[in-house]
Symmetry: C2
Subunit: 508 residues, 2 copies
């Protein structure tokens, strides 16, 4: 359906206003990609200023009283006619209202203080992490947390919810601590025994070493691009580049993926490319005509993460896919020997091992990393944990949840950028995404029997077609719960994810 044309003056004015906001957001996304992927160091100071100024202008337009008046007017105008069109407008207005409320909750001074505080703290973190010296970043993190808490209080009041929910809502619209607690409690009960059983069983199986050797970057990049294309990535609407930390940025018609290459391990870059491609397919699958409106953008971080993990964890570690891919990889890198066999590769790709670093974690231990961060950030937001006590609290919780204690803060509370960059309330979406991925993939395979056999031929067209229809094309028309119910028949529960883990790790 093309983007419906608003029929009242207030709705038209809102439409234009949010199209301008969308253009500013897209400009910011490109400037952020540029900073991570290509900017020389000398540009850093100026770029921080460019981003701060554009963010300030964006905030001014979004929070302007005029925006609120237009929303009031548009909401009282009763749109007659096509109910599909009416619900499109309603969903768009709801998303506009949510953004407006988030923006008006914060005075401009606080917005700018947050941006600057995050820049200062992130810079301190960049120095502190390699030295594993938390003291270097403690003070800026305290200052930033104070601003984040101020922001949480202001948003909680505006949204009428708790402090953590107020922050979570920015990344996961409608997300609630209570629901996450229930899902995570389920996993926390399930995982420890399950992990023990997996580790036991793993011992009994053969070796799970990744192929070793020297994997030239050019060959890795070529394989990455080919895999992207095979998964459906449209290179006329996106790029692949290199950055210190892989991410998917840019805009829906100009998606910027990044990865990093390790000469001694092609699987690492390949699977980070596959992960980011999952994000990219979601962006590229959003309805082209709606992109300048809030309703036309991705639903939220858990759905986004479900699309990346669906390909990274579900599809491309599936034995059928690996059986198809193994000969390609062998041919590409001249690989031979036991670690290039499909079965060994499958074991290597599903090897479980508690470790210190979240981004290197397998899908069985990953939730523990997320639960740890969720508990700690919640405690800090609610004033129950001081920044000074973070390293100790981290290490204690790591011991309890993962059974291992980081020997230093580089492998502990300094490993992730999120808090130091001002992103609080984001972490749970990783595990919500993993659960959503399992549920979505399961529903897709039940709905279309062509999906599974195609994977064995290295083809994802049937799967992508289903995702396009059921997830991507719906953009933000539905709430996350409603979207998941529409696509899979029920809201998120942990069962499908647990079933997937059991099948893969105890039966596979």
């Amino acid at each position: 359906m093309p983007s419906p044309i608003p029929t009242t003056p207030a709705a038209r004015a809102l439409h234009q206003r949010f199209a301008r906001l969308s253009a500013i957001e897209d400009a910011l996304a490109i400037l952020q990609w540029d900073r991570a992927a290509v900017m020389p160091d000398g540009g850093g100071e100026g770029r921080a200023e460019q981003i701060a100024v554009l963010s300030g202008l964006h905030h001014d337009i979004l929070a302007a009283p005029e925006t609120g008046h237009l929303l009031d007017d548009a909401e009282t105008e009763q749109g007659a006619g096509d109910p599909v069109v009416a619900s499109w407008h309603q969903a768009n207005r709801a998303e506009m209202r949510r953004r407006h409320v988030h923006a008006t909750a914060l005075p401009r001074d606080l917005v700018e203080a947050l941006a600057r505080g995050a820049s200062v703290c992130e810079q301190a973190w960049r120095a502190a992490r390699p030295q594993a010296d938390f003291a270097l970043v403690q003070q800026p993190l305290e200052a930033l947390l104070a601003l984040v808490r101020e922001s949480a209080r202001a948003k909680a009041e505006a949204l009428g919810c708790g402090l953590y929910d107020a922050l979570l809502d920015e990344y996961e619209p409608g997300g609630k601590v209570a629901a996450i607690e229930a899902l995570f409690a389920d996993l926390e009960t399930f995982l420890p025994d399950f992990l023990g059983a997996v580790m036991e069983r793993q011992k009994a199986k053969g070796p799970a070493n990744r192929p070793t050797g020297v994997f030239p970057r050019v060959a890795q990049e070529a394989l990455g691009r080919e895999t992207m294309a095979r998964l459906g990535f449209d290179f006329s609407a996106g790029r692949l580049d290199v950055s210190a930390h892989p991410f998917c940025g840019g805009t829906p018609r100009d998606v910027r993926l990044t990865t990093r290459y390790d000469d001694g391990d092609f699987i690492s870059a390949l699977f980070s490319v596959i992960h980011e491609t999952g994000h990219a397919l979601y962006e590229q699958g959003l309805p082209a005509d709606w992109l300048d409106q809030p309703v036309g953008r991705a639903r939220g971080m858990s759905v986004h993460e479900s699309q990346s993990l669906l390909f990274e964890m579900q599809v491309c570690r599936d034995p059928a896919w690996v059986a198809w891919a193994a000969p390609v990889w062998r041919e590409r890198f001249g690989g031979q020997g036991p670690e290039w066999e499909t079965e060994t590769l499958c074991r290597a790709l599903t090897r479980v091992e508690p470790g210190f670093i979240r981004v290197e974690a397998d899908e069985v231990t990953y939730p523990a990393h997320v639960i740890l961060r969720f508990r700690l950030e919640r405690a800090m937001i609610e004033g129950d944990l001081a920044v000074a006590d973070l390293p100790g609290a981290w290490n204690d919780l790591s011991e309890r949840l993962l059974g291992i204690r980081p020997p230093n803060d580089r492998l502990g509370c300094l490993q992730d950028i999120h808090w130091y960059d001002g992103a609080w309330g984001y972490f749970p979406t990783y595990t919500l995404g993993a659960m959503t991925a399992a549920q979505v993939f399961d529903a897709a395979r039940r709905a279309d029997p062509a999906i599974t056999p195609a994977l064995a031929r290295g083809e994802v067209a049937p799967l992508l077609g289903w995702l396009r229809r059921e997830i991507h094309a719906r953009a933000s028309l539905l709430s996350t719960d409603a979207l998941l119910s529409a696509a899979t028949g029920r809201p998120l529960d942990a069962q499908v994810f647990k079933d997937h883990l059991r099948r893969r790790y105890l039966e596979g």
Copy 2:
């Protein structure tokens, strides 16, 4: 000198306001570089919108009545104290006022219409040029010219000057048609006979063929980067990439150069890199502390072009430099044979030959290309030439000024992007830049006797030191005339350029 701190409230508010404008301009510069160098096609539509929205926000702030009031207040406040600081503030305010007047002259609707008209016309031009079909672009160009003339009328009234001067002032602050006419008339008298003599003399000399062969892109790029570094380019504050048309964009601390590679001709890319490096050195040499203020930015296009041409035309085609460079090039590409000899290379690098394409022209015939465009665009702006008559007028004038008639419009009036992209009043700055380059290089060599012998060793440090002090460090503190007088002892005249041509082409 660090950026002086404004001492009155109005001056402080202005300072902040122009720092924000500067951040928006820098963001736009990066988005424009991105579009030319790395953006996939799918991003085009969204990028046009991002650029239009940011340009509109920029215009709103710059043209706001509040900006005018602050300027009025700041101009009447008498700053006591240090005269150097006072003149810095005065120069900054003058540049602020100039920009404010340009912005207020145009209603927002016209600004947006110009941006859209330029996008439409440029797109039509991209289709028309390869087909040499002027009819495809005639109507959009007529529409765009109508908007440009409306803009010229509005600016002429605001600035109290002629139509062409009003457009020229945007690229060349303070530039005047009358002065350009005088300089160009001088060249027009001088060049035809001179060209004849050069062609005659050239025949008598040996062959001037460029080295032929296959020059791998990787090797060309490596040589380009090495040459940039040798000329003083700071890679921690800039990059080199590829685009369809070479340019120097980005920001002073994040300069983005581009070039394009021809497998069969390394000289083409190398000298385009040298040209853009000259621009980059100017940007990188601007005082770091002043960059967020108008006074801290480059003076204007003729000074900018003088810095690029100084390196491209004066320094790196100088026999002393070529003698130093030739063995490096031979070694780099395994070159041997007569066309790799220093003398042949010198002849190839200073070969004169009237041709249809401006960007391929030598420095003797280049002014004729510019004079042609200057005459035609002036006539169109002043209503004396209709767009429909442009192809014929172009061809007639080409015959008169260059002695050759383009066989089609691709080699004629469709060759340059400028008019189709809305840039009217820009062309003269190329030849003003060539004359300025000759005058600046001559003054530098007279001022510091270490400059010339250093070139023979492939070293530009003495020259760059002089340029930094005399040109770059002055940013926009002085008018173009005053800057040139301060650096070279006199305002621009054509004599030094003519002397340079005579020496190189009739005596060398």
